[in-house]
C-alpha cells in the first residue's frame, strides 16, 4: 500500500527499555491522529547501512518528532548519546536543501524541560521547543496539538486528554491482548506494536460510535 507523504511521521527517539512507555505513547498518538509512524526500527535489513535507512525514511516523511530528552551522560561510558541530535540535523538538512516536497517538512522538537537544549544544542535556538517533563500524557498532548496544525481544517481530532485516556486503556488491555495472541507485551517490535495499536484504535472507535 502506498502511503501519502503528508501522513508519514518520522520518530526520532531513544529505543531502550527505560523509554518504552514514551515510545509506545508516540506510536499511539501518531496513529490516533490518523497518521503513520516511521522509525529506524521498522525494517531490519543487514544489507542496508543505518545511515541509508535513516535517509530513506526521512525522505519519505513530511513530519517528524524529535525527543532530545535523553541527551545526557551515559552511566557506563560517561559519554552523551548523540544519535537524536544527529537525526534532527539530518531532517532539518533535508528540509533546507531538499527540493519539491522536501520543503514541506515540519518538525516537533521535545525535551524534558523547555530551555535545557540551550546548554547542549544552542544552534536550534529560535525553534519552538516543547517539554514533556517525563510524562507520557503530556507527550501525547504536545504531539497531538502540533500534528493537528498540519491537518486540513475539516479534520478535527480528540483532545490530548482524551487521547491520553485512550492510551491508558490500551496499556491496560495490552497484557491480556498479547496473551490471547501469543505475543510478549515486553518484547514486540515496532511493526507488531504499530499493528496492534492501529487495530485497537479502529475497534475502539467502532465501539465508541456504537455507544454514542
Amino acid at each position: 500500500m502506498r502511503r501519502a507523504y503528508t501522513d508519514q511521521v518520522f520518530i526520532n527517539c531513544p529505543f531502550d527499555e527505560r523509554y518504552r512507555p514514551m515510545f509506545q505513547a508516540l506510536i499511539f498518538v501518531v496513529h490516533a491522529c490518523g497518521m503513520t509512524p516511521r522509525t529506524a526500527l521498522e525494517v531490519e535489513n543487514g544489507a542496508e547501512a543505518r545511515i541509508e535507512k535513516l535517509a530513506r525514511i526521512i525522505g519519505e516523511c513530511c513530519h517528524s518528532i524529535h525527543d532530545i530528552s535523553r541527551v545526557e551522560l551515559d552511566d557506563e561510558s560517561g559519554l552523551p548519546r548523540m544519535n537524536m541530535p544527529f537525526e534532527l540535523g539530518l531532517f532539518l538538512g533535508a528540509q533546507r536543501f531538499g527540493e519539491g516536497r522536501q520543503k514541506k517538512k515540519t518538525c516537533i522538537i521535545i525535551d524534558r524541560e523547555r530551555y535545557r537544549y540551550q546548554k547542549f544544542l544552542s544552534d536550534i535556538a529560535g525553534q519552538d521547543i516543547r517539554a514533556h517533563h517525563g510524562s507520557a500524557a503530556e507527550l501525547i498532548r504536545v504531539v497531538r496539538n502540533a500534528l493537528a496544525t498540519t491537518l486540513p481544517p475539516e479534520v478535527l481530532l480528540h483532545s490530548g486528554a482524551t487521547m491520553a485516556g485512550r492510551y491508558a486503556r490500551f496499556l491496560e488491555d495490552l497484557p491480556r491482548l498479547c496473551g490471547l495472541l501469543g505475543m510478549d507485551p515486553l518484547d514486540h517490535g515496532h511493526r507488531d506494536l504499530a499493528v496492534l495499536i492501529a487495530q485497537w484504535l479502529e475497534v475502539e472507535a467502532g465501539e465508541w460510535a456504537r455507544a454514542a
Binding site: 488491555d173 491480556r176 491482548l177 495472541l181 499493528v195 496492534l196 487495530q199 485497537w200 475497534v203 465501539e207
Partner: protein, 47 residues
C-alpha cells in the same frame, strides 16, 4: 494377532505464527468485553 496401536494424533497448536487481521480484531473485542464485564461488577464509587 495383536492389534496395531494407532499413533497419537498430534493436534496443531491453536497459536499460529501468521495472525490474520480478523483474529487480532476478535482478540481485541474479547478484551473489551472482559473489561466491560469487570467494570459492571465493580462496586459503585463512593465519595
Amino acid at each position: 494377532m495383536p492389534t496395531k496401536k494407532r499413533p497419537p494424533t498430534i493436534k496443531p497448536s491453536p497459536l499460529k505464527s501468521n495472525l490474520k487481521a480478523s483474529e487480532v480484531r476478535k482478540a481485541i473485542l474479547a478484551v473489551f468485553a472482559a473489561r466491560a464485564a469487570r467494570e459492571r461488577q465493580a462496586p459503585p464509587r463512593t465519595r
